[in-house]
């Protein structure tokens, strides 16, 4: 993230005019573990550091370590929830948020995070994840059923167009719920969800995708028959890499098995771990189906009266 001098200036003023040096150091420590102002500044421990110098140093360190957004998230949290039962009013906070948002990020109240937003570039890591770290995701996998028959039966350009339409639909339902398309390979793909009620979001994206496909078949599909898909949602840990090919994950392998072995065409299958997060309203849409040796799976499909 390119940090403007104006944004840095707002942050320095916000810190210097809103809190003590001790509190600044404490908040910086939430972002950079063991942060020590005296060590960073070279001031001897017995000499107090002037407020403005402390603020400038902290902001400089945050910029250098690429942690400015995270630090701002901490400031927002402190302003909204206080610290140790004390409320802290932070000056210029709304301007700081606006500055960061102008760089293509969006502050998500519900997650307490800045994520990539608006019309800007959307990366697999939401602009937040760090390479090589393990996170708990919910994954949605989609596969176009009968791909080889379609490829044989219709001209290549027409098949590619239909698949690209489908990808567009999937991207819309996934990104509307703060998910990201991690992978697309012609006849199917994988989407990841990380924030908030991620299992609910992934399941809803899958359900909406089935309905969107129904509408697509009704009004737009140029094939003589309908397009069919299989969908599955599974949750679990996964090491994050910006390059999808580098990702090796048991969760993704299990997801592929669920979709390939248990999802019927035009249905969404979810694993028990996902189902347990559905809540009363949403779980009424899923019925238990074909079990593995250990688990019951749950399925949603659209039917008509």
């Amino acid at each position: 993230m390119k940090v403007s001098a104006r944004l840095q200036n707002f942050l320095v003023q916000a810190l210097a005019q809103s809190m003590t040096v001790e509190l600044m150091e404490q908040l910086a420590g939430r972002v950079i573990q063991g942060y020590d102002l005296h060590r960073q500044s070279g001031f001897p421990p017995q000499i107090p550091i002037p407020q403005r110098d402390a603020a400038q140093l902290i902001v400089k360190d945050m910029v250098r370590q690429g942690r400015l957004r995270r630090f701002t998230e901490v400031l927002i949290d402190v302003e909204r929830n206080g610290i140790m039962g004390r409320s802290v009013a932070i000056r210029f906070l709304s301007r700081i948020i606006t500055e960061i948002e102008s760089l293509g990020f969006l502050y998500k109240e519900e997650y307490g995070l800045f994520v990539e937003g608006g019309e800007g570039l959307k990366t697999r890591g939401w602009g937040v994840l760090q390479e090589g770290l393990i996170y708990e995701f919910s994954f949605l996998r989609i596969d176009i059923a009968g791909n080889s028959q379609l490829v044989r039966k219709y001209p290549k350009a027409e098949v590619l167009k239909a698949y690209s339409d489908l990808r567009g639909l999937l991207t819309a339902v996934v990104e509307r719920r703060d998910g990201r398309i991690w992978h697309w390979e012609g006849d199917g793909g994988i989407a990841a969800f990380l924030f908030g009620a991620k299992n609910v979001q992934a399941a809803l994206a899958g359900m909406e995708m089935l309905l969107e496909l129904f509408m697509y078949n009704l009004f737009r599909c140029s094939f003589a028959g309908d397009l069919h898909v299989r969908l599955a949602v599974h949750t679990g840990p996964c090491q994050f890499f910006g390059n999808f090919k580098e990702i090796r994950s048991d969760t993704l392998r299990r997801l592929e098995a669920l979709e390939g072995q248990f999802a019927a065409p035009d249905s969404l299958i979810i694993s028990p771990g996902v189902y347990s997060d559905m809540g009363t309203k949403l779980e009424s849409f899923f019925r238990p189906v074909g079990t593995t040796k250990r688990n019951v799976l749950y399925q949603y499909s659209l039917g008509w009266e």
Partner: protein, 326 residues
């Protein structure tokens, strides 16, 4: 008007001799999808069955029907179709066989096809209350041509939440106001893409007006979508703790459009749509008059069932999607 002839046989070209107002373009089948999607003006597409791969016709028709500005006609020089009348029942504007090709498709024939299309599309909806002198007074594809205090033909939608008495008892005035207001926003947002306008709000529902061009009724597809996707709103957007149920009734009729004192408007169409929604439609149902379905997208017809007659009109109701188990 644009006329597109889709065929891989260049020998067909001399048969199309139209001039003047008709711009005829000959295109190969490989360009079909791109060209169809690119057409922004009224266009008649002639489809050559002899060079169209087997089984591809339904897909092509589906694409054409999804664009209201497009009409189609079939060229059947090998006599592949046995039931020619069916071609017209399903919406074609013309059917050109070997004999007709030999005679040539000139401006006169194209004009006849156009005139047939116009007659079929602008048939005055039968039995509509409020149609002055039986006249259709199209309000247009959007609101740009609508002048307040003038009479037009509109698509009228009645929408109302079911079980309002119970909700009043259960949720309390303040909670209910918030929840109902979010429901209203949901409806307004849903009808916006087809220029629907919430015209009257009665507390738990209201009347939405859709401009009606006399050629088609895109509002039907929009409302079909509203019902199909409703449960996602229940889970993600609704402020009500339970699943919502609402009734929808839609018809096409005339009324004098006004922006002031809408509560005091006297109109047969308005009365009729209120009756359709309140007296005929049952809990959770979406009922439409025959005319709405006739002007709606043809693909939707399979999703509506006979529901009986009401105030002298044939009513159909949407088949309900079954999302929930049990």
């Amino acid at each position: 008007m644009d006329v597109l002839v889709f065929s891989d046989n260049p020998k067909l070209n001399p048969a199309f001799k139209a001039r003047g107002a008709f711009r005829v373009k000959f295109l190969a089948w490989k360009d079909f999808r791109r060209q169809v999607n690119a057409q922004a003006v009224p266009t008649l597409c002639y489809l050559d069955l002899a060079t169209l791969p087997a089984g591809r016709l339904p897909g092509c028709l589906r694409l054409i029907r999804s664009c209201p500005q497009l009409s189609y006609a079939l060229i059947d020089r090998r006599g592949q179709l046995r039931d020619v009348a069916r071609v017209f029942h399903e919406g074609a504007a013309d059917y050109v066989d070997r004999e007709a090709l030999r005679e040539g498709v000139g401006s006169r024939r194209l004009l006849r096809a156009l005139s047939y299309l116009r007659t079929r599309r602008s048939e005055t909806p039968l039995g509509l209350p409020g149609i002055t002198g039986g006249k259709l007074l199209p309000s247009g594809a959007d609101w740009s041509q609508v002048v307040p205090e003038r009479e037009y033909t509109f698509g009228l939608l009645f929408i109302e939440l079911d079980g309002k008495e119970e909700m009043e008892k259960k949720y309390g005035v303040k909670n209910l106001t918030i929840a109902v207001s979010s429901f209203r926003s949901f409806i307004e947002k849903a009808v916006k893409p087809v220029h629907g306008r919430m015209w009257i709000w009665t507390g738990f529902g209201g009347i939405v007006l859709f401009p009606f061009s006399g050629a088609d009724c895109p509002a039907l597809g929009c409302l079909f979508r509203l019902v199909l996707f409703k449960h996602l709103y229940d889970i993600e957007g609704s402020h009500f703790p339970n699943f919502l149920s609402f009734r929808l009734g839609m018809m096409i009729g005339n009324l004098t459009y006004t922006q002031r004192n809408v509560g005091s408007v006297v109109s047969d169409s308005l009365n009729s749509v209120f009756h359709l929604g309140q007296e005929f439609a049952r809990t959770g149902q979406f009922c439409v008059t025959e005319e709405v379905l006739r002007f709606g997208h043809p693909a939707l017809k399979d999703y509506f069932l006979e529901a009986g007659h009401f105030e002298g009109r044939r009513i159909l109701r949407m088949r309900m999607p079954l999302h929930r188990r049990g």
